[in-house]
């Protein structure tokens, strides 16, 4: 469904993303993990059209959209959430979500009805009339999700929707994400919380210092020495193996 190939992004000589490629098959939940500062959000920004890549191509459902503006990608069915939540603070929850719904209907009543529907799906049904600025962090994350869903995406890009949530809140959101996929939406998610990645993702990509260092099934990738070293530092994998041997 989405093929992003050989993407490179440079900021004033600093290479944030270096020749990274990612394939998201239709119907999958694909994860993108990596240590802080690896370039995950930059890669996302290129895929969603907020930051043009210096090199590489983004292909969505067979069409090259590398230089297409974000709003046109949204119309193709590519929706994203933001890591740092970006609510329309002065609007209530229903009107926030309705902005997404207007992509497919110009009728305000219909847009608000759909907004209500989506809000219930993500568990915001009781806070429809609350101002977005009055929501908790967990509420705002749900609002990000709801707004993106209201555009009826085919591919949903989730940028750390679980970050900042407590364990019980995470437990509540996981089934929602699974349900979204069951309804036919393909998902690409950046996530730090490994419990969630192991739980949800069919396959994961690991980005470290701008380079894609591993990809595959979550369980396999987690034991990849290169991945362990990326997270825990040089030599960590060897030490862990040695410790493992000693315990045995």
């Amino acid at each position: 469904m989405l093929k992003a190939h050989n993407l490179t992004k440079r900021f004033f000589g600093l290479v944030a993303v270096d020749n990274a490629s990612i394939d998201v098959p239709e119907g999958s939940i694909t994860g993108l993990i990596g240590p802080n500062g690896a370039g995950k959000t930059t890669l996302f920004a290129m895929i969603a059209g907020f930051s043009p890549p210096n090199e590489g191509r983004v292909v969505f459902q067979g069409d090259d959209i590398t230089t297409e503006k974000p709003h046109l990608r949204a119309r193709r069915g590519l929706a994203r959430t933001f890591q740092i939540v970006q609510p329309f603070a002065g609007l209530n929850v229903r009107d926030n979500i309705a902005v997404g719904a207007y992509l497919h209907t110009k009728d305000p009543t219909e847009a608000k009805r759909r907004a209500t529907e989506v809000a219930e799906k993500v568990g915001l049904g009781r806070e429809l009339d609350k101002l977005a600025s009055g929501l908790t962090i967990a509420g705002r994350k749900r609002l990000e999700l709801a707004r993106a869903l209201a555009t009826r995406p085919k591919l949903l890009l989730l940028d750390e929707v679980l970050a900042g949530l407590n364990p019980s809140e995470i437990r509540d959101v996981l089934p929602i994400i699974r349900k979204i996929r069951e309804e036919g939406v393909t998902i690409l998610m950046i996530e730090h919380i490994m419990q969630a990645v192991m739980n949800l993702c069919d396959s994961v990509y690991v980005l470290s210092q701008g380079k894609m260092i591993a990809s595959g099934e979550p369980k396999v990738v987690c034991t990849d020495p290169a991945v362990i070293e990326a997270y825990l530092g040089h030599g960590a994998a060897a030490r862990m193996q040695a410790e493992g041997a000693a315990h045995a």
Binding site: P70, A74, P87, G90, D95
Partner: protein
């Protein structure tokens, strides 16, 4: 306080003014009312872009003046009917709005940069109008007195006031429509967060273009009507910063991004200005001192203007949570 209630209150207030005017008011009060309506209409135009779109223009004089000059030149130089002049004035004003918008929004200007560039455009037009012959240069232009409905002039000024009220009512309905429409939702969304709006499929350039064109059209309509009342303009009146300032002040003091805000603001400001002038014995500029102080007080204590302040008071009495301050 629902939106419809707000609309009805505003309509009732205007109806009251209209009845008062018809029953009979002293000439100077009627003139004040006429001026209030012209400023209200200008501010309604400003509110579309500055209030709902969050793009504060410091140069709405560019549209006001274009409307005013267009209809004046068409009437005096070409002998064209005033109503046709009015339509042309609105069209040309909208065009100038679209042009300024195209240049500014394509360059991605917003915030203080947008405020400054609109001010600069208005100043360029003012200097040009002040030196070109076909705008009458520094001596300005007069529209000859005709006094007939067909010429949009009235010996009895009450009728002119009523026409102004009709336009302000149309402005209210237009604003109400905007609040309810997909266009309005997109406009508010890009005001609150333009990145998030884009991510949701909003073509922010197109929405801003539509907003500035609509906004400019309404403000240039006010400019046309100004000429029909005063029958004289020069560059400092038509393109002077005074009208940019009054439009902005009225909208913000009344409540930017609300239906009745511009009307409330212009009635309040001009009313207060008149009162201070009469109490101070006509010291020049004293009314503007009051305007300025009120603006600062509003930004400090009532970020949503008088309209927002009243709504918050009402909500507090009904024990509902107050709306948080909005970034205009």
């Amino acid at each position: 306080m629902t939106k419809n209630f707000e609309l009805i209150l505003a309509l009732a207030f205007l109806a009251l003014l209209a009845v008062l005017a018809l029953v009979g008011l002293p000439g100077n009060i009627l003139n004040l009312f006429i001026f209030m309506m012209i400023v209200a209409l200008t501010a309604q135009g400003w509110n579309m872009l500055g209030g709902y779109g969050g793009l504060s223009s410091f140069g709405h004089a560019a549209f006001f003046g274009t409307g005013a000059y267009t209809t004046t030149i068409l009437q005096t130089t070409f002998g064209i009917n005033a109503w046709i002049g009015l339509v042309c004035g609105v069209a040309l004003g909208a065009l100038v709005g679209a042009l300024i918008g195209f240049l500014s929004f394509r360059a991605g200007l917003k915030g203080s940069y947008f405020a400054l560039i609109t001010l600069a455009f208005a100043e360029v037009l003012r200097i040009l109008a002040n030196s070109w012959d076909f705008t009458g240069g520094a001596s300005g232009m007069m529209v000859s007195l005709k006094n007939s409905f067909w010429d949009l002039q009235f010996a009895d000024r009450r009728y002119f006031f009523l026409i102004l009220v009709v336009f302000v009512v149309l402005g209210l309905f237009l604003t109400r429509w905007l609040e309810r429409s997909a266009f309005g939702a997109y406009l508010i969304a890009l005001r609150e967060n333009d990145q998030a709006a884009q991510a949701l499929g909003v073509d922010i350039f197109r929405i801003k273009m539509q907003a500035i064109t609509l906004s400019a059209a309404i403000t240039s309509l006010a400019g046309c009507l100004y000429v029909q009342n005063f029958l004289f303009i020069d560059a400092n009146v038509a393109y002077g910063s005074w009208i940019s300032i009054e439009a902005l002040f009225a909208a913000i003091v009344g409540g930017a991004g609300t239906i009745a805000g511009p009307l409330i603001g212009s009635v309040l400001l001009l009313g207060l200005g008149e009162i201070t002038k009469s109490f101070s014995g006509g010291i020049p500029g004293i009314d503007l001192v009051v305007f300025g102080i009120i603006l600062v007080l509003c930004v400090a204590f009532a970020p949503n203007g008088v309209r927002g302040y009243v709504a918050d008071l009402y909500r507090r009495r009904m024990n509902r949570p107050p709306s948080s301050p909005k970034i205009v």
